[in-house]
Amino acid sequence: MNHHHHFVPDFETDDDYVNVNTNSSSSSTLPRKTIVGEQEDDLMELLWHNGQVVLHNQRPNTKKHPPSSSSSSSAVKLHNNNGGGGEAPPPPLDHNLFIQEDEMSSWLHYPLRDDDFCSDLFFPAAPSSERQTSNQVTAARPPVPSTVRPPEASSMRPPVPSSVRPPAPSSVRPPVRNFMNFSRLRGDFTAGNGRGESGPSISKSTVRESTNVNPSSTPSRESDLTRRTDGIDSGGTVDIGSRSVAAGGGAYTNGRNPKGKAVVTTEPRNENHPGTSSSVASKSEIEPLIEQPETIVDERKRKERESVDQTECRNEEAKQGRGSTSTKRSRAAEVHNLSERKRRDRINERMKALQELIPRCNKSDKASMLDEAIEYMKSLQLQIQMMSMGCGMMPMMYTGMQQYMPHMAMGMGMGMDMGMSRPPPPPPFMPFPNMLASQRPLPPQTRMGGSYPPVHASDPSRVYGSNQQFDPNSSQAQYPGYMDPYQQFRSPSQPPQFQNQAASYPSSSRVSSSKESEDQGNQTTS
């Protein structure tokens, strides 16, 4: 035995210090001495956790007994002061010393609080990223000297996260307070966040929750669904609204998760929100210390940006303690990438929804799909115009409309009385009867030249009528362009006489065809 004193640490024999401790209680055979120092009679006790000294009893200054003396983990428990004499076997400090010699000195000289230690044990166990843990730990313990914290956190982290989270609290019995915190954190993890909620994120989630509640409280009519400008779940609203249109607002309400509880939603993204808000809302306390940049993933749109900003600030604060700007930059870039990815995902999701809406859309290219969407929208607008005019015209057919029909048949061709026009000036759903009523006394010729921009105004009877009294060919030249975008979306039962001309159009690009029609329309009226 090469120990000169009871408490002189012996580095060579640290391997089997455990055995020594358990086997021999006599001080004479103990090579393990603890602190360099002079505590002949001081009772030394070290708490071990996963092979590291967690707490040690200060020397002459403070003889505090670690309250959670039994909180040490599977490591050896030192019952030095369990009634043993002054010759109690010293705690196996040298083991720790051997590993972290540099830290021991700081440990020795720094009075440590229990809660700090235990809290750090639990907090690092929670998050999956060690780096952030250190940040949080560093930021969490302002009073603690930074010199002590980072090394001890870093040292403690490797063993701690290695253990699975659930077993961690069970293995170590912390003070009740910290245990509660950890359980709270665990509840957050199980909620699907993977991260403990921090104050700001909690406040944000509560804000989000309240915002979720508000829209749901409003009458969930379809018009509200479609007109929603709420930025939180607008993406989800669109998709949910499409599915719940028939069901009214019920599905929408469910999808919106008004109560903030975990609700099965059609949007996978919403899961995080309910989980987050529910887990957070159910927790009475807030852990301001645990703060994860990953909460950004759970937030959306401006909430995302808020969290990003705040998290970035906090990360920067934490990093300033470390003094590394590179991590700050990388973190900012990482955050930016996350937000960018979310934006792209959102856009892709909308594109997919749009693709579903457009009939016979087999385009995988975004640009062509958007082109088709534009054409489809125009054709829909025109179709609705025509139909509304037809609806308004039909009742008047018997009254006084017959006089107009022949005039239109004369090849004036524009059917301006139909009032078809390009979308811009009049709304697509412009009521035709109104125009007609105002112009009825006018001769059709005047109406022809009238206020409407030329074009594709087409007489439905001329275009589609099977037993047309008019010459379809004459009218054909006038609105082939109109026919084209419209035809492709209609059922293929078009009158055959239009197929020849229309057939040529699908081959051409959509945009050019619509321009063509406009030109032709212009020519006819000029």
Binding site: S242, R346, L370, M387, M394, S461
Partner: protein, 92 residues
């Protein structure tokens, strides 16, 4: 990873940003809401796409309504009149 990213965004790059911007602006022109509500060019693409989807659904509903009305009208009209043919053609 950079290769993957370039491949992922290559489809968009092929289109070119200008093209996308042009298309988005076209859509925004068509959409009455955006046209009336915001004159700025700050409309995000996702917003435009969302409004497009909403607008198309609205148009669908309108078409359905009009179709229903036209079919009702058709019932009230003689089968052989040319109005009936008109209506039928409208309804397709």
């Amino acid at each position: 990873m950079s290769n993957r990213r370039s491949r992922q965004s290559s489809s968009a790059l092929r289109i070119s940003d200008d093209q996308m911007i042009d298309l988005v602006s076209q859509l925004s022109q068509l959409l009455p809401e955006i046209r009336e509500r915001r004159r700025s060019d700050k409309v995000s693409a996702s917003k435009v796409l969302e409004e497009t989807c909403n607008y198309i659904r609205k148009l669908h509903r309108e078409v359905d309504n009009l179709s229903e009305r036209l079919s009702q009208l058709l019932d009230s009209v003689d089968e052989d009149s040319h109005e009936a043919s008109v209506i039928r053609s409208l309804l397709m």
